[in-house]
């Protein structure tokens, strides 16, 4: 069941994801810097854009395939691809193989899926990273995306990473397992339901009394912090890569 991890490589690709590219670029940069600090050369192919998930989840397979094919072409060498999002990583790992089944790129898609890793998973399992917390004491609530919890099943690794930070107290939210209501285009196609979900999520997060929210997925973060802001709740969110990078400088 569990994935076999390779030795730490000398060179990896970084797939930044479109949401990070446009809205949260510092999270991507911090992810790259964390990898570099582990002594790994990081290549960021500038031709990359989006994994194709928005179209795929909306049932536009041809469109998703075109965009996915463009990404496959970005990562030709047989080295790991690290993605600072469980959602996009799971698109590549879980869905590229079936999306390209029966096409010329099937083998390439399978190969890419096989060597794609979510960032925290890679830092913990492959880099065996060791962190020294230099940050001020903080009370933090963590939101694990559905992709991290149920698709890639790597929320344990994210937790392990945060547990290394001595000055960070992690507080638990009620119904941590429940979806925040983002779901990509779901939040636009079923806005009322999505809103009901994110409001419940915000209630549970705020009730913890945490100083800040940490998550590994910027889709969830955009949804949750957007709703918090609209409610004028002071709770702020941060991507886990930035959170860790800033505390271990």
């Amino acid at each position: 069941m569990s994935r076999l991890y390779p030795e730490k490589p000398g060179h990896v690709y970084f797939f930044g994801t479109c949401l990070i590219d446009l809205f949260y670029p510092e999270a991507g940069l911090h992810g790259i810097q964390l990898l570099e600090r582990e002594g790994i050369k990081v290549s960021y192919p500038p031709e990359q854009s989006c994994c194709g998930q928005p179209a795929y989840n909306s049932g536009y397979d041809d469109e998703a395939r075109s965009v996915a094919a463009a990404q496959i072409a970005c990562f030709p060498e047989e080295i790991p691809v690290v993605v600072p999002s469980a959602s996009c990583a799971s698109m590549i790992r879980e869905h590229y193989p079936s999306l390209f089944a029966g096409t010329e790129q099937e083998k390439l898609a399978r190969d890419l899926a096989h060597r794609t890793y979510e960032l925290t998973e890679f830092l913990v399992e492959v880099c065996r990273i060791e962190l020294k917390d230099m940050g001020a004491p903080a009370k933090v609530v963590v939101h694990h995306s559905c992709s991290a919890q149920r698709h890639l099943r790597i929320s344990g690794q994210t937790q392990k990473l945060l547990n290394q930070l001595d000055n960070v107290a992690i507080v638990q939210q009620e119904r941590a397992y429940e979806c925040c209501g983002f779901g990509g285009t779901f939040s636009v196609k079923a806005p009322e339901i999505s809103n009901a979900m994110v409001q419940d999520k915000c209630d549970n997060l705020v009730a913890t009394g945490a100083d800040q929210l940490v998550t590994g997925d910027c889709g969830c973060m955009m949804n949750i912090t957007g709703a918090l802001e609209k409610r004028k709740d002071p709770l702020k969110g941060q991507h886990i890569a930035s959170f860790i990078w800033e505390r271990t400088q």
Binding site: G28, P46, I129, K132, S187, A196
Partner: protein, 490 residues
Amino acid sequence: MTAPDASHINRNFKSRVIEALEDQELRNNFRGAMDFLMQKRAAMFPDPEDLEALRHRGEQIRNRCLQQLPELLEKLESQCVNNGIRVHWAETAEQANNIILGIMKDHQATRMIKGKSMASEEIGLNHFLADHDIEALESDMGEYIVQLDHSTPSHIIMPAIHKNKQQIARLFHEKIPGIDYTEDVDQLIGTGRKVLRQKFFEADVGLSGVNFAIAETGTLCLVENEGNGRMSTTVPPVHIALCGIEKVVESLTDVPPLYRLLTRSATGQAITTYFNMISGPRKPDELDGPKEVHLVLLDNGRSRMYADKQLQQTLRCIRCGACMNHCPVYTKIGGHAYGSTYPGPIGQVVSPQIWGLDKAGSITQACSLNGACRDACPVNIPLPNLIRRLRHEGNIDSADSQTLGRGSLRKPVESLIWKFWTYLNSSPLWYRLTLWGATRFRNLMPSSIGPWTRYRSAPRPAEKSLHELVKAHQSQSPSHVIKPTKQETK
């Protein structure tokens, strides 16, 4: 007589959702009930590895049975006939209704008592019979409550789960003559039992569903807690069992593991109070049981599901309802909002395949693809993948698809947006140009962008994209130069 029209499912979906979300009492009822059911199920499966092994076994059994579905159905028929059960085949809801009506007419029957049968809800049997002056009375307590309320089940296992104690107390007081208002659950159940007891004796025909139909022995298995299933199938002189064709299993030994998974996943019970095994009408030397037993095997779109390798997985379902209990959408909007006999994740997969995407495809949008249902499913149905597949079917009229109403949900503007999106994201130059523009003109981005900003503040593009940050970073410390020593972190 035509089969029930399902086009309301698509038509009023949005308004039903909004109405449900605004009903705080309804939301509390569902939240409370689903939390309770999730806890009960979790307590039944304390060891995750054991659970995985059981689920895997359940999946294998169902797959093996489905692989030989045509043969097993033939065997079931011949074994049932050997046992004295009369077997009828219904390709459509209309045919099933008419077969049942025909049996009723043969006996000049005007009164039917029903055990719980979601298949009978699927074909709209009660309405159909009412149009022919036949009273069909529900005897499952939940079904009885919703029937009294002129409503429909909101959950496939617990039909009246949308109602709380107070609401049921009011309903009984208003609808049953001579009943005082009481919130005492035992008294409420006692009232229902008293009313129904008489009806069992008066009924000409009893109708039930089937949980497992065993091909090897021609046995119909019925899982229940209230005993009304046993009463419906033994007290009236005629018993009609309505059974979806996918319910057939190969042999007796297939039943225990599936039964175990079913009750634990559904209600968190190790076993139900009743497990009925019906293997024919009363024999000459027997003192009780119906004089006639009929089995109506219902297709109603199941063969279409069967023909598609991926969608065939829909038919593994053993109707436990765990996917609903664990669905964060179902928990918010409840069962009625879906507008279909089958709500929740399995309903989003089954309904469009039975009634067509043009009539019931919109409900596939009410899913964030979060995967909670897939993890709860006792037979590992990849529900999110199937929901996504049906969204695709709704957009595309593909020649190799059999799904009814395929391509009917395609919206020209939406398709155009996706074409544009595809062009942008597969052309590095245009992508980066857009990125550059969005970051440079970030302050010009509208603060109101449709449904998103109704409930959230608008996300603002960063000052510089990751593309730009990486470029600047690499010019400072080229990534190909590995830093001489790893930073000491301990």
